[in-house]
Structures are given as structure tokens and as C-alpha cells.
Amino acid sequence: MSKSPSSLPIEIKISTVVAISAILHSSDPIAIDAALKQMTGGVSDFFDDEFAVIDVGAIAAGATYIDWRALVDLLKKYRLNAVAVRGATAEMIDAIKARGLALDDGAGGDRAREDVAAASAAVTIAPVQLSAPAPAPQPAPQPAPAPAPQALALPAMIVDTPVRAGQRVYARGCDLIITAAVNNGAEIIADGSIHVYAPMHGRALAGASGNAESRIFGLSLQPELVSIAGVYRTFDDGFPAELARQPAQIRLVGDRIDISSLTSHR
């Protein structure tokens, strides 16, 4: 591995920020202003200095001229910080760059949203994910600058070795996937869901930081204790025989731990 990155003057990492997508259906600043005023209802902090991507895909073909400066200032007035333009035509590019805005190629995925949005107000907002622009000051061993993946979820933690008595595995902030056996006396914990593709004994705690939607999935369950979002269930009289040693899932239904087979219904 490389040297400790914290000793370098700059550290480059992929990060994901959420931005508002401002989809234009008109290039007229006055019409946009009126629509924003109506949308925010005069509440000055309706937007909270969020990043905004101006999506001109819907009007790019017809619009001959867009006053970018006026547009950026207008969004700023409503506390939206324009950082990029999406769906621009080739003629617009110079003007956009002159304003210091980035170009987002917006690799697909927005057509449908636009179609839906077309019937609504002049400005539509929708959360989009925006990859931070990654300058490359040095030839770091970096993969080709392909379009950044659109959905950057936290990767699940994957464990391929048996989890034995006395061992504890904790997947912080993500799902936990285990491909080897979990033995009695072991403890597996995840902030997300837990998946075990081998016999699962021991204790399994999903949604450890409170996510009640988390579940536990297993090919062969026989746990000592399961918990979802702090609601737990022990199996003093043994795991329900009709559900043991077969594919099953464990959910939180209301305040009750529910175990159901994954083979009986499909």
C-alpha cells in the first residue's frame, strides 16, 4: 500500500455530494423568478445554500440565448448555489465555462424524470447525486476518469471466513454479508441488513444504529438471539423448528421480530 495519505499536502478521494437539480422549462429569468417565488412562498430559507445543477436539457434545443449570469444570480437569491449545467448544447459550452460553471454530462437517467416534470412548474427540483470534480495534480494510480458511478452507496462489508465463538464483526454504517459459517458464541452486527450464506448460529444484530427497515437474511438460520433496531428476540426453547435450517428472513413488524421462510413464497 502507499504511504500514509495524511502526510501529503493534498489528498484526492472520490466523494459524493447531494445537489438540487433545477430543471428549466423556460429561459426567461422573469418567469423562473415568478415560479420560484411561488414555490418558496416567500420563505427566505426554503433552500439552504444547497448546490444546484441547472438542467437545460428540456429547453436546450429551442433556446438560442440563456443569460447565465442572471440565472446564477437569480438562483443565488433563493439560496441555491449553481455549480454545474446539465444538458447543455455545444454552442452554450463557452458561455457556461466563462461563468465558472462545470459541465455535467449527466450520463443518462434523467430523461424519465424530465418527462414527468415537463407538465409541472417552470422549475422542478429533484435531488441528484453529483460527483465532486476531482483535479489530478499528480499521476496517482487512478483508474481512467470514467463517468463517476451515479449511485455511490456505502459498500457492504463482506466476510469470507467463519465467525467463531467470541468473535464480533461490526459493519458500521452498511450491510454485512458473510459467506462462511457463524458459530454459536459469535456476534455479528450491522447498521444495515445482514446476509449469511452459510449456517448462522450465534447472535445477529441488524439495524444496530436504529434502522428498523433492516433485515436479517440467511440460508440456514439457527441463531441464539436476533435483534433489529434494538428489538430483540431470544430462542430459549430453540429456534422455531419449521423455520430452522432453511432460507429465511427476519424483519421487524411493528415492535415484534418476525421470521418468515424464503422458500414457501416466491
Binding site: 467463519p162 465463538a165 458464541g185 449456517p199
Partner: protein, 271 residues
């Protein structure tokens, strides 16, 4: 290249020392220069089972502390010229073993051209057991076919995976072998005991051998001779199989099937 093998189990009384004695003797009988070290500081059993308790002058703690040299402390086995025993101290406690000291002793043994260095671990998961497994290249996990023993073996396997030098430095993991002892096919048949398949399904490490439950182990201990010396007994043959498999030979599993005594056997009570 020398191989350091820890014989461990977590649980006490499952046959670690008996197995260490027979395993190291078996390796030596096949011509390999072997040392067997007793890490059970404070109790000291290995020298009794090896029948050399009266020749103990210096022990492992003396060598670790630099109060004696390895040559002074190693006891040559009474049967094999290429087997040496390093006994534990009965008058110190386990904290007398330091990691640096153990590493020095093991390095010195490697320099003395020992091919196999067997570390007989104490029971438990405390300091003594950790010291025994820290430098291991391979591990013999001694397990009785019984739930608490299996659970403790599972625990010690986890500790090996976390605390051994190989795990800490990110090297190749310690090679694990499952040795099931005190196995009684008859009691397995009657559902009084876990089968070896059950044990293996829980622990999921390769099986190196099954030692049948036998009175000859007790005889051997009392006489101060490792059980492998009692030619013709099931236990001796089972340990010979273990040594052969460890050295890479193929041997079929034996002593795992219960054969109901025949009529003549029942009438005349042979065995």
C-alpha cells in the same frame, strides 16, 4: 525450514499433553529432529507423561529469563535420540513468559536445526495459551466430541486467527488441523456423543485424525511413556496415522465405526 506447531484446545483435560507427547514422539520415530515445549507454567505435566520428570533441572522460564542455556535445559527423550523436551516450571506463574523471550527461544531452536517444534499449550485463553500459539505456523486443535469442548475449540481458533504472529503481520494464516480425541463410536451410535462429522461441521477445519477413547492412554500416562509406544493398541495406531497425515501421507480414517460384538466375543469376553 522448521515448523512450529501449537497443540491447543481452549478446554482442559481433552488430551493436549497426551497428544503433544505422542505426536512429537511419532515425528521423532520417523527420524525428524523434534522438540516439545511445555507452556503450562505452574502445572507441568508433559515431563510426567514423557517419563523424564526426575531429570528436570532447568525449565522454559529459566531459558526465557536467561538463567540457563537451551542446551542445559533440553532433556533428551529416553526412547528417541532426536526428541528433546523443554519442561515447564512448577514454581513460577504464567506471566513469567514474555513474548520476546519465547521468540528468542524458538529462534534458537530453529538455529539448532530442529525440524519440528511442538508447543504444548495450557488450557484456557490466558497469557500462557497466547504465548504458546503466538509464533505457531500450524495448530493441532484437540477437541473432544462434546459441545463445550467444541465451543472452546471454536474460540481458540478465533484467537489464533486474531492474535498469532502470522495473523498480526498479515502473513499466510496459521494452518489448522482438527484432532478429535476420546472418540467412542459406540457412544456416537447411541447419540451420547457428537459424531466427528458434527464436530467438523461446526469447526470447519481439516480433520487430521481421530483418537479413540481407550484405557491404554491412562496406562501410558501412569507409566510415563507416550501412548504411541504401545504398539498394537488402537490409540498408538491412530497417533501413527496422525503423524503420517501430517507428513503428507494418505491414510483412511479408522476407529470411527462401531462394530457390535459378535456372539463368540460376547460369550468369551475377548477385549
Amino acid at each position: 525450514m522448521a515448523r512450529i506447531i501449537v497443540v491447543t484446545s481452549g478446554k482442559g483435560g481433552v488430551g493436549k499433553t497426551t497428544s503433544s507427547a505422542s505426536f512429537s514422539t511419532g515425528l521423532a520415530l520417523r527420524g525428524h529432529k523434534t522438540a516439545v515445549l511445555d507452556f503450562d507454567v505452574g502445572l507441568r505435566n508433559l515431563d510426567l507423561i514423557m517419563g523424564c520428570e526426575r531429570r528436570v533441572v532447568y525449565d522454559l522460564v529459566n531459558v526465557v529469563n536467561g538463567e540457563a542455556t537451551l542446551n542445559q535445559a533440553l532433556i533428551k527423550d529416553k526412547h528417541c535420540d532426536n526428541l528433546f523436551i523443554l519442561p515447564a516450571s512448577q514454581t513460577r506463574d504464567k506471566d513469567a513468559l514474555s513474548e520476546d523471550g519465547i521468540e528468542r527461544v524458538l529462534n534458537e531452536l530453529v538455529k539448532m536445526d530442529f525440524e519440528f517444534i511442538i508447543c504444548d499449550s495450557p488450557a484456557g485463553i490466558e497469557h500462557g495459551a497466547l504465548m504458546a500459539l503466538t509464533f505457531a505456523d500450524e495448530a493441532l486443535i484437540v477437541t473432544n466430541p462434546e459441545v463445550s469442548s467444541v465451543r472452546d475449540s471454536d474460540r481458540i481458533l478465533g484467537i489464533i486467527q486474531a492474535k498469532s504472529r502470522r495473523a498480526q503481520t498479515g502473513g499466510e494464516p496459521v494452518k489448522e488441523h482438527l484432532l478429535i480425541t476420546r472418540y467412542s463410536p459406540k457412544r456416537v451410535e447411541n447419540d451420547e456423543m457428537l459424531s466427528y462429522q458434527d464436530v467438523q461441521e461446526i469447526l470447519r477445519i481439516p480433520l487430521i485424525g481421530i483418537i479413540p477413547e481407550s484405557e491404554s492412554v491412562l496406562h501410558a500416562s501412569n507409566q510415563g511413556n507416550p501412548a504411541i509406544h504401545f504398539k498394537g493398541t488402537d490409540v498408538a495406531e491412530a497417533y501413527e496415522d496422525v503423524v503420517a497425515r501430517f507428513l503428507g501421507e494418505e491414510r483412511p480414517l479408522r476407529f470411527t465405526n462401531y462394530e457390535k460384538p459378535g456372539l463368540l466375543q460376547r460369550l468369551f469376553g475377548t477385549k
